[in-house]
Amino acid sequence: MSVVKEQDHQNNQAGQTAMKRLSKPIKVWVTIAQVLTIFSALLAFVPYLALVWLGDIFLSVQMAGEQLRAEQVHEVVELLIMAFLSRLFFHALSLIITHFADMKLRFVIRQQIVSRLSRVPLAWFSQTDSGKIRNAVQDDTKTVHTVVAHAPVDVLNGVLSPLVLLVFMFVVNWRLALVGVATIPLYFFLQGLSMKDMGPKTAEMNRHLAKVSSSMIELVAGIKVVKAFGKTGEAHQNYQEATKDFSQAYWEWCAPLIGLCSVAGELISVPLLLLINLGGGALLFVAGFASLPQVLACTLIAIVLPVAISSVANTTWSYQMAGAAAVRLCNIMDIPVIPETNSPKQPNGLTVQVQNVTYSYGDTRALNDVTLTLKPNTITALIGPSGSGKSTLATLIARFDDPQSGSICLGGVDLRDISSQTLYNNIAFVLQDPMLMNASIRRNISLAKPDATMDDVRRAAKVAQIDDYIMSLPKGYDSVLGTDCLLSGGESQRISIARAILADAPILIMDEATAFADPDSELEIQKALSTLIQNRTVLVIAHRLNAILGADQIAVMENGNIVAVGTHQELLHHPHYQALLRQGGFPDDKEGEENHE
């Protein structure tokens, strides 16, 4: 057997801890199920007790040559059947309870994840892909919930039932019991050998599998690149190596175990146990140490005993396999969140002040001591090369995350002291991604104002230049996006603009690129945007200078700093601004013709 790595030990332990933590919400139910399992396990011996009685009755009658008392036999048979059925009943009941508990657990875990995720900084989302979240919410909860709920019950049953039967055997006839369990110690020893280091080994297999999985993902997701650059062999090779490592590790772990488990399995096989128990029992019977019914009952117990034991090993293994999934779930539940204030303050006015704000994504500094004021009813444009911090600044104002130092205030109150309800009553945004949901158009438009009337919704849609289109759909505003109709990029944008119009927040954060998101319907989007910004405080992330030349203030960003602020006229002589103008082709072509397209 290969050596166990420290890392795998740790992974295994982390997994077990995570499983314990996740199981908390259903502890009560699991306990109840365990109690029922105890009942069922305690009843395990009764059918065999009845069997011994029955044998005694029949044999004593036979010996004495008396008349058999039928009702006595019937009583014992009834007891036997009753015990048998109630044992199954308790077992089934505990199974149903654990099933309900595991469903509840899955529900609870999912809700916990979602409620956590809706409070984490938005930056986290851009660093994680949707597949990971879907995996966690779906696959990992699936892996974990059954195991967490069932393992404690199954293990208890697997340990207790054989134990009860064993005790019963000893009570009936300790000599027979010794014969009955003759092979068990050796079986346990072999099984124990095979289960040695199972936890860390499983963690190791999980690690290998993760590598197989990621190399497969890379091969498939990158298949175009791989083929285009003639790297099919290489990427394929990475995958092949990962699978080879896995198979080898798995084989190295399993190969010695196969022989071991097969031998162990034979020790508890029915024919062998029959032979030992019947043969040994016969010797004891002949020697006068045991009665025939005792021999038969003990033989029969001896052949059911191992079935119960071996299920424990399987359960343990799946419990360990689920460890990795549990760790992933716990990691999500531990992502730091944006704190919500306990004593919210009301902003006094609508001026937005960004004061000495510094912000980093991990080690990458995105904003550096930035200060900017947005006065009510003015348009501020952020310009600068990509990666200069425009979007970061804009999203911090919408409190997608908190700055590491400095502050952002709305009406003189720090955003951290404003309830999110109040904040988003004041701030709306229209970004490049229209963010529409697979719900009715009406619901999509009225997302921020669920009780808006149909008239309000239609008014917003009209302003957004999309009402005509919606009315042309067979189901109109009740059309479900993605199900009843597929929208083009431009139509989606206009729905998103209608949403912002209906939300009617006094402060609007927008991305100018929205206006050029769909070459097919740019004019309509542009018209809608022009209406949307009227009478609002606007912060616009700008890409094309000619679209924002008339802004009340233009902030030029460079490497996370605001290097200049002013109107177009005021900035004309600023070197950074001039550079941006040149890039947009302005010096040669003041009119800004199609070149900037």
Binding site: L85, D129, L219, L292, V304, N546
Partner: protein, 584 residues
Amino acid sequence: MNKSKRLLPRFHRYMVNDDRKMHQKGTGLCILSGILIGLALGIMMPAAMALQTMNPQWGLSFRDWVIVLASVALLASVFSFWGTKLSYAAGLGFMKNVQKIVGNKVARLPLGWFQADSAGRLSRMVTQEMLSTGQTAAFFIGQLVKNVSAVIVFCIAIWFWNWQLGILLTLAIPVLFLLMKISQVCVGKGNSLEDAAEQEIASRVVEFYHCQGALRACHTGADYEELKSSFVNSKRQSVRGLWWSALGQVLSGMGVQMLVAGMITFISLLGVAGDIEALETVVMIGVTLRFTTLLNDIASSLFGMEDRRQMLNSLDEVMGAPEMSVVAKTKGQPKNADITLNCVSFSYTKDKPVIQDISFTVPAHKMFAVVGPSGCGKTTIIKLIARFYDVDEGTIHIGNIALRDYTTEDLFRQISFVFQDVYLFNDSLKNNILIAKPDATDQELHAVADLAGVTEIVQRLPDGWDTICGEGGRSLSGGERQRVSIARALLKHAPIVLLDEATSALDAENEANIVRSIEVLRKNSTLVVVAHKLETIRMADEIIVLDQAGRITEAGSHEELLKQNGPYKEFWAKRSASAQWKLA
């Protein structure tokens, strides 16, 4: 049993010959050991009678019976040991082989086969799914056949003991299997209820992820009704599903219990009536109890195998996906870098043609732009040139050789492409570009990086060239990824470059990079661009204008087309007007 018969060959299909033989042998040995187990249970009766009466039963004394039992036990152990061992080894081989053949298949599948969810699906297929299916092959199948043969032999043995009981059992077993079948249907029904709800959750969660910004702005983060209700619905459905499977379990459980209770009562009645001996009664009742365990094991093995059906289905689907015909050797040498499309038509789904009857020739070193309304098949055309799919009708030639007559390697030696969905490997920025030409000098690398605007990214990021791009390139923005992709194309120096320009608006800086790069690319390569930016379109030597139906309506240079007063002129006027738009 029917199910397993249909499932078993499918397991075997994905084993290499040796493993298959091993598995068949292992399964055969398991059957033999099952027969012996049934026999051993059967022997209990005469042996116990012989012990009690001290008279031979069926001509054998107790001692003889013990010898028989010993030989049965020995043989059963040997068979079962080898059977288990062979099955396990075959199971491990199955896992290894599944990983291997899926990997090989992926490398051979045409690019058009791959979809957004392929990566996740395939990676699950070669990990968790593969593991559980392998365990089924290694363990469940052997257990199942072993238990089934034990039950059958035991039934036959019962007839020898007592024909009344034999009749009872023989009649009961088909009923039991029917009940198991029904309960299997119930369980399946329960699962299917849950499946639909789970699908809903999957898409709601992805939506929750993508729309997080909007949801928060509309203060509906954690309270997002649709997601919440999808959870509630899933819970409700799984509760319903649970009742279904509980019903199934109860049905089969009750069947087994009633059979057992009935048998015990029946046996005791026979005993009381004196039809069978006292000891016989006791042994029969005892063996009946053990018999239930066998039946339950069969049921759970069946359910266990049934769970694997879906994996085998998707394995069939992947392995059965048609591959493109590939030649072993490219037929001839491409004369030049001309691209010729001749009457090409293509559709993704039958009767919904995407492009129709497209013919044009791009002479070497010329730049062609393809324009048209969204959904008119622009991107499809360049995908066809890169042979992501084979055309339905017509032909495509590169350098006078049909695409079908190129080996994959030779074809991609001719072609380089820049698509909208740029994939970067989770490797350094440098290696992601060097993939195009691993032996490029630093000078070459820096030259293309300057052109494509990658140098600017490198300077900005703290780790520079060594910045790790993240899974798929997530650490970079979309515009940055496209720049990397262009740098790759520049470095590769392929005779033909296919470029799908980003639809989303790029900023002036990005646009300048792309324009500069195109200028260089067109000097060395034949260039086909799906163009959105007016400047790119105007750069083209020839512009192909498609209509909504995927047909060519106009073709010509920018000036020629403007003169024609056709759809292009209209398009150009509209786009120019919108380019003038001023927000403030």
